[in-house]
Amino acid sequence: MKLIFEKSVPGRHSSLLPACDVPAYELPEMRQEPLDLPELCENDVSRHYTQLCQRVHGVNCGFYPLGSCTMKYNPRIDEEMAALPGFTNIHPLAPAASVEGCREVLELAAKYLCEISGMDGMTFQPAAGAHGEFTGVLLIKQYHASRGDTARTKIIVPDSAHGTNPATAAMCGYDVVNVASAPDGCVDLDALKAVLGPDIAGLMLTNPNTVGIFDKNILEITRLVHECGGLCYYDGANLNAVMGHVRPGDMGFDCIHMNLHKTFATPHGGGGPGAGAVGCKDFLKKFLPKSALMEGEGSIQVRGFAGNFLVVVRALAYLMTLGKEGVPEASTNAVLNANYLMEKIKGTFTPAFDRVCMHEFVLDLSEFKKETGVSALDVAKTLIDNGMHPPTMYFPLIVHEALMLEPTETESRETLDEAAEIFRKLYDLAHKDPEYMHNAPHHAQIGRPDEVGAARNPIVRWTRA
């Protein structure tokens, strides 16, 4: 389809602003370069974006079992509430007495999320999960600094962790100590003990881990880290498995981020805006970030003002809807759906770990690839032709030819049955016609794109011919 620039017609426009009712003011220095933006009428713009949206697969279009991303249904009521003028038209620097509703939104959301996570304090300033990690690790950094403990220069990250964990530790000035996982994807206690010492600032961990298994040794893990003087950070990417059943705070974690755009049903928007609420235990509260302009200087700050407020509004509406009964029910059904789908797929593709999983599971296609020559990538691309968004591919790194599936609680049994049927079909197809799968997708918006060419010769903008 054409780019919006290719639809531009010189002189075309919409009538949006009235004539200026005050004298014009001539600024002394003006832009010299012409402003080459598209010239369109409103109908052109509307049709263009409608065409674009027809080339997008969202959760509302179909199954989206993208592991680790918790692609659950995004309720419409949450959208409607976030569009209320009483939230959208409020200036962040309006007097405190005029924004009591906004403050109450944050207070209620903090209260509910502290209860769910087992934490004592919370900030909504971080704008995404990785941003929450950055904030959380800075809490750890400030804590050690406040005690004059400057020898702690390392953060432990298991090799099964999300790539953001080591990247975050590095942004916070720490050296990363990678610890190999045990064969079941859980933390290898001996490997952990071997690296613990007075130079360890903390550990970043998600539980259930990235292969979808709850680490039974979690209390021992956090105890060992604390014993050596380090703190424990919980990556909330997998919180959807355990809400209302077990709390990161009770597992021994000191701080945590929660992805409101995963676990608490706010939409991903094609890559944001999200919100990475960061919670912490009492002793870390004094290190939480604040806005210099809204609350005064002297604290850390990770972005302007109070964070992605409208995302918090959506999450609060979601929490109010589910309540104390619905929150654990969501997790139970996320785990049930994952186990049901895994069970249905078994017999064709092989789970990396043949045991009860939590909210997600990983398929290991390495044997299958040896047999058929068809890779995890080929399977993923063929799924596209079947109207399903592929699972997360080649993650975690500890499983080769990995496909990671997270169905979430909002999918029906029919959807899971259909998905399992599609997997079965592809399994058979791989044995009959692997070539077809190497070249998939065949019926999508585009065929496989040349990513290497894109990186070698970057074209990152349109230019007028």
Partner: protein, 439 residues
């Protein structure tokens, strides 16, 4: 209670049976007994949609809506065309994830490619990323992008937005690098002080144009001084103003950053906003965050993909240029949509009217006895006044449904106007100020 779980009780029992279980508790068999919650969560019971709507509306009604907003300081109440509110609510845009699978995400990818192009056209720069969190984090990421082994110090003008300064300071604290503040003189960055501070360890200077006090900096000369010291010049701009003001490219910036909220996003008590980052071709591989590139598919058709991923955390892990993955994609789509809906003439008109209204308000206020202008330099949209009874003035305006400028210092106000403010509103504001001062 509300629920979005489709399974009926009967279905759930059948599904449990299918996985060889009898009770739901068995799903959590791996969780050590002593950790399992025995009591229900201490949060209220769930509610129906109707009840949630009523409760949330009560909260929204506790906030005060002002008829007139004359406060900016980082959040600008500009006109937003209706279409800009409707399109981003399309469920496909709203509910998609990051476009990892290009074959089923061409719509999102193309919208970002178009956004990146528009940002380049607006700023004169060569390449834009797909967005970062907001203007403050854009500045902090830009500072990180400019550092190398020898040059580690970031200079920041004292006239940069306080939240941006504090955010850059925090990112520097994270990376164990130093931040130094360049002082101001008469509301602008002090050129003499800057020249002395441009030592060989300085990686970059962050300057804001117009600055926090609304003043237009002598950005070109400052950029030349920065380059003479072989440091990088990071310019934080108001993107809407760039439709009429000199572009960062024209002013010599190496990296342009900005808060994109003024491009069609509501002020929304501070977020979500949009972090804009653009740079020159030679620095593109240092740019953090997602970047969409054009390529071809296996049948040689044009295609868009997430590109240059070798910079990013999921490949580079601790060696990545940043840990960012989720950004503000839907806000970037909204900004692109805003620029398309307004068109080049609409944007210029919005910027021209913004500056006209701000100057009208300033002129009329300063005609009043006792009111003076704090900084005398050229400004675009914001200016600082000094007047007696400052707090009484703001209180009287509030009573009339007008959110006056931001109080600063002892008796200063940082005012802001946009194209949305009518002459009648501005006249009424001036009349109220006059009345209070006359008392």
């Amino acid at each position: 209670m509300g629920s979005y779980v489709p399974g009926t009780q009967a279905e759930r029992e059948q599904m449990l049976k299918a996985i060889g279980m009898e009770r739901e508790e068995q799903l959590y068999a791996d969780v050590p007994e002593q950790m399992l919650l025995r009591e229900p969560l201490d949060i209220p019971s769930g509610m129906s949609e109707l009840e949630v709507r009523n409760r949330m509306m009560e909260l929204a009604e506790k906030n005060r809506l002002y008829k007139t907003i004359l406060r900016g300081a980082g959040a600008y109440d500009h006109f937003i065309p209706s279409i800009v509110k409707y399109v981003p609510a399309k469920e496909e845009f709203l509910t998609a994830y990051t476009p990892y699978q290009a074959e089923m995400s061409q719509g999102i990818l193309q919208s970002i490619f178009e956004y990146q192009t528009m940002i380049c056209q607006l700023t004169g720069m060569d390449a834009s990323n797909a967005s970062v969190y907001d203007g403050a984090t854009a500045a902090a990421e830009a500072a990180a992008m400019c550092r190398d082994r020898k040059r580690t110090v970031t200079l920041v003008s004292a006239a940069v937005h306080p939240d941006a300064i504090n955010t850059i300071r925090t990112y520097c604290y994270g990376s164990n690098t130093e931040l130094r503040i360049v002082p101001c003189k008469d509301g602008k960055t002090d050129m003499d002080a800057l020249k002395e501070m441009l030592t060989p360890d300085v990686a970059s200077l962050v300057l804001q144009q117009p600055n926090f006090f609304g003043q237009l900096e002598d950005a070109k000369a400052i950029g030349e001084a920065v380059h003479a010291a072989k440091a990088m010049f990071i310019l934080s701009c108001d993107p809407l103003s760039l439709s009429i003001l000199p572009t960062p490219k024209e002013l010599g910036a190496d990296v342009m950053v900005g808060e994109g909220q003024c491009l069609g996003l509501p002020i929304a008590w501070g977020g979500p906003y949009l972090g804009i980052m653009a740079t020159l071709s030679k620095h593109i591989r240092k740019l953090p965050g997602r970047i969409v590139g054009e390529t071809t598919d296996d049948a040689d058709n044009k295609a868009y993909v997430l590109s240059l991923q070798a910079r990013e955390q999921h490949i580079r892990r601790e060696k990545a240029s940043s840990n960012i993955c989720s950004n503000e994609a839907l806000c970037a789509l909204t900004a692109g949509l805003y620029m398309a809906a307004m068109g080049p003439e609409g944007m210029k008109e919005a910027a021209r009217q913004t500056t006209a209204k701000a100057h009208y308000l300033q002129t009329e206020l300063c005609k009043l006895e006792g009111v003076s202008l704090k900084y005398k330099g050229e400004f675009y949209q914001e200016f600082v006044t000094v007047m007696p009874k400052r707090d009484c003035v703001l209180a009287a305006l509030e009573e009339a449904g007008i959110l006056g400028g931001l109080p600063m210092g002892e008796n200063e106000i940082l005012w802001c106007a946009t194209e949305k403010n009518t002459r009648a509103e501005l006249d009424r504001t001036v009349a109220i100020v006059k009345e209070v001062l006359a008392k």
